[in-house]
Symmetry: D2
Subunit: 408 residues, 4 copies
């Protein structure tokens, strides 16, 4: 049952109270943990499908990403202790086929998936020297596994929700949201890294809007081998700042924007955010799954958001993961299609354990309509779009398996 709520509140991006938005970049320890968890889930799913033609239960949604110890210095430095990444969770690791035990190389699959993440995420990490990677997974406890197994047949049908859970999404991004998102995306693009190799992938962007003033504060781990002295450091920081400002300029509309980079630095005391590998995980900053960006890529403490950690959950029937993604997808579709008519859309869906995924226990679409809109027409269409998204579960599952949907 899907409700529509007509709201007359001021859209978040225009509200009086300061708006606060954060995005942890792809090299931030928490994002790395999320990406690794999701990569493990993808790799396991792939293996299960290829070898057994079915989904097997797994939840690899925890990790111990233990920071290393490093002594960076201008032009280089020393890694004193490697980082350690261990994925934690459970995954079916043996199947009985025709009375015979078939082992499934879960540890190998996960290690390999994690190694790939480090390779495509970081330009300046030497996997062999800087990181120790492992997987510690176990089999599931009976009750959930039992429930899951009942679903084994009919993989092309919509499976049942594995839990009572909650998904929430919204659209569109406010100006601050978009700036935070795009700044990180641009600074972590190949294009920018080629221009500014000193900029490491560990970037945290925070946006604060107060009235019409937006302040973007970002921390960017600098890569020591491209920074030979203080002045090169200062230049690199300036280059990051300018690039961020330029991204913001294209989005700011009537806001004024200020960008600050690495505000904790005290250059004259040689306190700088200098790293060998481009991530603070080399020295002291541990990471965990589910502690970073929400499924839409942002942390928005001023909005309703779930604690659900989507990364690493199995994409077949983990309702928390699926509803987190579906609610955001539907909200974006509604705004896209009804651009002139709806100013802001927020969707919440609650599942019912044991019921098909596309039949939520309750759904709510909050719409802030534009002036003079026929709300009934808009409401009807919004409902249809959400239901279509729910019904289109197989597409989402497929995209998750292929890795074309981001979960953080």
């Amino acid at each position: 049952m899907i409700h529509i709520t007509k709201s007359n509140r001021v859209p978040v991006g225009l509200a009086d109270f300061p708006e606060m938005v954060e995005r942890k970049g792809k090299g931030h320890p928490d994002s790395v943990a999320d990406e690794c968890a999701e990569a493990c889930s993808r790799a396991l799913t792939k293996y299960y499908i290829e070898n057994f033609d079915t989904y097997f239960h797994h939840n690899v949604d925890k990790a111990a990403y233990v920071a290393g110890q490093a002594a960076p210095e201008f032009g280089g430095g020393k890694i004193l202790q490697p980082q350690e990444f261990e994925i934690i969770g459970r995954a079916i690791d043996q199947a009985i086929v025709g009375g015979k035990l078939v082992p499934i190389p879960v540890r190998t699959i996960c290690r390999s998936a994690i190694q790939d993440v480090f390779k495509y995420t970081f330009r300046n990490i030497d996997l062999e020297k800087h990181v120790i990677i492992d997987a510690r997974t176990k089999s599931g406890s009976i009750d959930l596994t039992g429930l899951y197994n009942q679903e084994r047949n009919g993989q092309d049908h919509i499976p049942l929700a594995n839990d009572t859970s909650f998904g929430v999404g919204f659209a569109p991004f406010s100006s601050t949201d978009q700036m935070v998102y795009d700044v990180e995306t641009y600074l972590n693009s190949s294009k920018f890294k080629d221009l500014c190799p000193a900029s490491g992938e560990d970037i945290k962007v925070m946006g604060l809007r107060n009235g019409k003033d937006i302040e973007i504060t970002l921390c960017n781990a600098m890569v020591s081998k491209y920074v030979n002295d203080r002045s090169e450091y200062i230049n690199a920081v300036a280059q990051v700042q300018e690039a961020a400002l330029k991204v913001c300029d294209g989005l700011k509309e009537d806001h004024s924007v200020k960008v600050s980079v690495n505000t904790g630095d005290i250059i004259e005391k040689d306190i700088m955010f200098l790293t060998i590998t481009g991530t603070s995980a080399e020295a002291g900053d541990d990471g965990q799954v589910g502690r970073g960006n929400r499924a839409n890529g942002l942390i928005t403490p001023g909005r309703v958001q779930t604690l659900e950690a989507a990364a690493g959950k199995n994409s077949n029937n983990h309702i928390g993961k699926l509803y987190s993604l579906m609610s955001n997808r539907a909200a974006r579709s509604i705004i896209k299609e009804l651009k002139g008519d709806v100013v802001e859309c927020q969707i919440r869906i609650v599942s019912q354990i044991g019921h098909p995924i596309n039949q939520p226990w309750m759904g709510d679409i909050e719409l802030i309509p534009a002036a003079n809109v026929n709300f009934d027409v808009v409401s009807k269409r919004a409902k249809e779009i959400l239901q279509a998204e729910l019904d289109d579960y197989l597409t989402l599952r497929k995209e998750l398996a292929e890795g074309t949907v981001k979960v953080w």
Copy 2:
């Protein structure tokens, strides 16, 4: 600068859209992780103060709580593999005093603190047989540590915020909030455990309010040695259900309440939530810090909430932790003092890195006033209460060090 927002929205507990509230009980793997992290922080703080008379930097806010493997059966069963708990983070582990190196037994301190948590949390865990406990901590990276060190002098003054961060709190609890909170608290009390020893400490309570109907769904790991057959299991579950209902009855006002326990069970197939130790961490359910209850003890996806993991952060100047607690404390004080005048209060505070903790960059108190209230008077008092809470930082820090404040 503290704003007051006068709101005319319907209080959460009366709103149309379903309200959803969750509390992970003290034996849930995520709560155990939180409690262990906080206990480590407390123990380190105690050691630092006793031995060096000052706060030292530490953040032990990550953990790898790796589930074991178990084969429970009626009347007992076998632990196949132990649970493993490792706290992760960084903590000062050597001091140079008068040119000499003084080692600090961080690993011993943390292991001991974690062992204590397991002892006071679980009735049916044998530390020696069922759990492996360790600590993997490192020293901090230079820039944050540098900032922290500047604060070393003048421990009796208000320290500076270590980050730009966000705290949010609210009061009062809605009926659903209160039921969820109180049901867990009662079911995990000594009183109830004495009455129903089969009820393990791993309890997850979820409350869903739809209009006037509140549905409480709870999972409770049953302890196999007190459950000798199916009928004893059924009886124990019924006992839990009745106890929960009774708690709810005292809080329900004009709501109707339904309580379901262990809905995933299929008794006739022997699919039950049976454990040897009282927690699902014995078999398959891993835990992490910061993935469970927020600082006020609840998960409220229908409300504004931060992702901040308070547990394990140092209580001296970690602004995310402190503001999470202060905003809730202030909201509760406001509601307590202005009971008749304010229906609901929500507080948000944003810090400014490098500024004293009691001078937030921005604060907002959203008040839903009762009818016919002099809002100016109420507003003024609410501001004063929040500022008093901010200024009373030393009390909060002391209570955190002593463990009299809960952070999950």
Copy 3:
């Protein structure tokens, strides 16, 4: 085929060249490792027999005994980091019975066995605070396992040798041998520990005989909580020395004996062998299986000895372990029975892979006869005794399973 070699060499205990003998006491890290490995093998065997009525393959003959870090001081001190003990090897951990998988709690069994060893070995170790114990075992590779499995039937018959291997033993102990053995045994007895609680269980005794002069050098870790100052330390060391001397007095015959204790000490610089727990494993001294005493309890570099690590090997058909024990048992029996006729006896046996254990490929009994002995009679009897020992394999296996035979 068993040879007899008649030797006219001077018995080891009378030879010109210095005799050197060593025994690592029960609290020495290498002995602890041996004892834990053997205890794990015993516990696994017991479980296999009780649950499956047969021997299952296992070799738990490796370990990582990683030393801790400690700061002992007079009257106490601090454990900075715990010791870690991990047994390594392989052991059958699941059986397929009637088409169903039966898990075997190998990790739990081994952890429990190791904990017991620490408890009965050390008086001053707090298992919870001072040690982390784990087991990392895997299943076997196909070829040996295959060979082993063929042996499954007929457990009451003599199994086949699993390898080409070598056992060596001798009797009697020389005076130096006996002193070294008995000094450790006495100093580590309950009787002496009650008299001198400051004496820890980590004792290494070395005996050097040069002509008629025997020098016993021993290291004994002192327990700090029973040692409040330098003079108490000096007294405790003196007590150990006197006790050792007294043991030697009863064995010395025409030798002169000198005993030195903790010769590395430089008391005036506070360099002493002080520990909190009674073992050097608390701080820096790691241990391994098979690096300490041979199967007869001694290290005798002046004699023929194998490198075989008996501890932790399966007692069903591991030929290196069995022959090491059998050769010593037979030599001792020969000396016992033929006391007047044989001065020294050394036995070597070589197995043949795939042949019954009691049919070695080759055996040699070297006998140094007393004067005027009928060598043929003595030879015949010696052969019979060795063959009887070989044929009595089931008794040895049983005693190993029950733990009544020492392997280090």
Copy 4:
């Protein structure tokens, strides 16, 4: 004081009793453990010298080499779990220089050294996929470290023995010794590996001489990707056998030689020694330091041999390591120089703790002279050669640091 013993015993290679000799090849888990330990010691020494111009204390002579799990099959197969190698021991990891703490990257140094060993040892191991490498080292306990530190000054002088210890060596190799040694060396040469890529580096060679018959039994892990079916396996085994025979032919003199390869195989049941990586460590066979070849490259249970594990000990003053090497070097020099006059030479040296390394407490050179030799002349020269070797300590230490001396 160096004794000379004139012996009239039959040389080992001609004795009646069966001679037994073993060599674990470079890819055998125990040899890998030895090589890694020694490589770590070398790398640490190098770092200490380069950065601090002195030797620092370390003993990295333990390891946990935990086997993986694999499912090899003709033409390939799957690694189910990686191997894990952890070096264990202690090493100075921070220096105080001018009041400032200088960290030493011990973990990084050791990991890198171990990785290099795997690379130059194995042709078919993918470091990233197949192995997890780590180092767990701690600082030393006070008494030994104290002793060691006293030696810091005067690095060009002969340091004092750190212990009472024992070294033993002999020359020449008997025919069986030489065959065992040379067979492994040739089979593990680049030349042979190019000819027979299916032959993995894990080779164990055992030689048994009975009278004039020498039986060489060798196990060689075959590499699955070069073996596509049973007949290719049979061919590869035959190729190994022929190559071994050919090596033996050049050494056999008047012996008859038989070579058997992989005698545990039962081809028709598909029980074969097939591996993916060329070592049994991929599946079930763990390794340890000091459990394989002695310092001269052989295991000779028929001869006097020490249990000393030379690998990983510090080469500056670890007397057990140094004397093991010196006694063999001196014996070889004596035989080389006095070829016609001495048939066999065995050397034993005992150190005295606290005395210079070149002044052993006692030494013994056992010589079996050729007929009609002037024994006094020969004795005098033998003594001089041994003393010269002892005095030439600095050359040995340098060669150890450079890795030009083998210790296993």
